[in-house]
């Protein structure tokens, strides 16, 4: 997700700040909607970021929209993370250039001149069985279930619903303001309506993710959580 976001910003030769993030939000959301068909573990990490972008975009469209301190924290956080990500991907360029080019070789295994046999009393039939079973038991299952991410996705869905309401309200309250700047009034309204439609699409995307998970363990966890 950061890679996508960063390339959208760099394409436009922007610096990372809330302004540039607001500008690329729609492209990002479009991309996330296209991702829908992919597996939910992948899309959920994109959606977590999308939620914050939506906040940034909403605020930039409607400066009067009140953000909670948590929301503001999320925005600040995303900027910081993106800057870190940018830094380390740049440094990764050095690694790409150098890796395997000039190798320092450790010496080969030294040959044994003398034959020794030095066992250990802990090597028994039983202990070896225990060791091998423990070791095999630690091999991770092939799929990593993104439990945490899915929980976040569910709360983001709520967040977007609420935010949509808040934007609609703010829009009505601010209608006079828009009317005051007649020149750009229509333009602004079109932009905001378009943006709301986009939000709805993302919301559907999130629902899709949650439904995708329906037959997996994750959703059972969610229902348990709901029961409490």
């Amino acid at each position: 997700p950061f890679h996508l976001l960063l390339s959208l910003i760099e394409e436009r030769k922007f610096f990372i700040n809330d302004l540039s993030l607001a500008q690329v939000t729609e492209d990002y959301l479009n991309y996330v909607n296209k991702l829908e068909k992919q597996d939910s573990s992948e899309i959920s990490s994109f959606i977590v970021i999308a939620a914050t972008l939506i906040l940034i975009k909403s605020k930039s469209l409607l400066p009067n929209l009140d953000l909670t301190s948590e929301e503001e924290g999320d925005i600040h956080n995303l900027e910081e993370r993106l800057k870190l990500y940018e830094l380390y991907t740049k440094l990764g360029g050095h690694i790409k250039d150098m890796f395997g080019e000039k190798i320092i070789f450790a010496p080969l295994e030294r040959k044994n001149d003398f034959l020794v046999f030095l066992p250990d009393n802990r090597i028994t039939k039983e202990s070896m069985m225990t060791f091998v079973r423990d070791t095999l038991g630690r091999v991770p299952k092939k799929v990593f279930l993104p439990e945490v991410e899915v929980k976040k996705v569910i709360s983001i869905e709520e967040m977007i619903s609420k935010l949509t309401e808040r934007i609609e309200k703010t829009l009505q309250m601010n209608f006079k303001e828009f009317a005051g700047t007649a020149k750009t009034k229509e333009e602004k309204i079109v932009v905001i309506i378009g943006f709301l439609a986009m939000l709805e699409l993302v919301r559907q995307g999130i629902l899709h993710v949650v439904q995708e998970g329906n037959f997996k363990d994750i959703i059972i966890k969610k229902q348990e959580a709901d029961a409490i």
Partner: protein, 186 residues
């Protein structure tokens, strides 16, 4: 024979990394003497075909990086020089931070890194150890194998290493700019 010569002989004989502490115990000399001897050895190896690699408190010997092509011809086992984008990002964080928790890697990359970390660990490029400050979590560090593939004797030889480590994280953006100015390719 002096401590420097003894250290060189031990490193040569073992052909594996050895800690400064181990030298001190095994040779029955103080830490200062070990450190001084290692400095001298490093200096003396400068014009030779062998180099001294350092990582945390561990030391090992290897062939000079300039001779990479020559030695590679003698190497029978296949070398994997490929790195995926995910591996590059993860290695970059682990190398430049020289020891980092998984949660910080995930935070910076914005995705779950467990699969990549496992793959890199299997390749012997990184290792995980229990965090001395919090025994419920692990710290991932570069291995000598990783330094070797990078052709460096210690992490300090990484390009822009000091630039990155001397500044505070919140200045990441400025740093990125600084790197751009230095002509670092993106």
């Amino acid at each position: 024979m002096n401590t420097e010569q003894k250290i060189e002989a031990i490193l040569f004989f073992k052909g594996e990394p050895i800690s400064r502490k181990k030298f001190s115990e095994f040779l029955g000399v103080g830490q200062t003497e070990v450190n001084e001897s290692l400095e001298k050895l490093k200096e003396n190896l400068k014009s030779r075909g062998i180099v001294l690699q350092e990582k945390e408190n561990d030391i090992t010997l290897g062939t000079a990086s300039e001779l990479s092509d020559l030695i590679e011809k003698l190497q029978k086992e296949e070398l994997n020089k490929e790195l995926s984008k995910a591996s590059l990002e993860t290695l970059s964080i682990i190398l430049y931070k020289n020891g980092v928790s998984r949660s910080l890697i995930d935070y910076i990359r914005g995705v779950n890194s467990s699969f990549t970390l496992r793959a890199l660990s299997i390749r012997g490029l990184i290792e995980k150890n229990i965090d001395p400050e919090d025994n419920r979590r692990y710290i991932y560090r570069p291995t000598f194998e990783l330094l070797s593939f990078m052709g460096i004797k210690s992490v300090e030889e990484l390009p822009d290493y000091n630039l990155v480590n001397n500044s505070i994280e919140s200045n990441a953006q400025n740093l990125a700019e600084e790197l751009k100015k230095n002509g670092t390719d993106i």
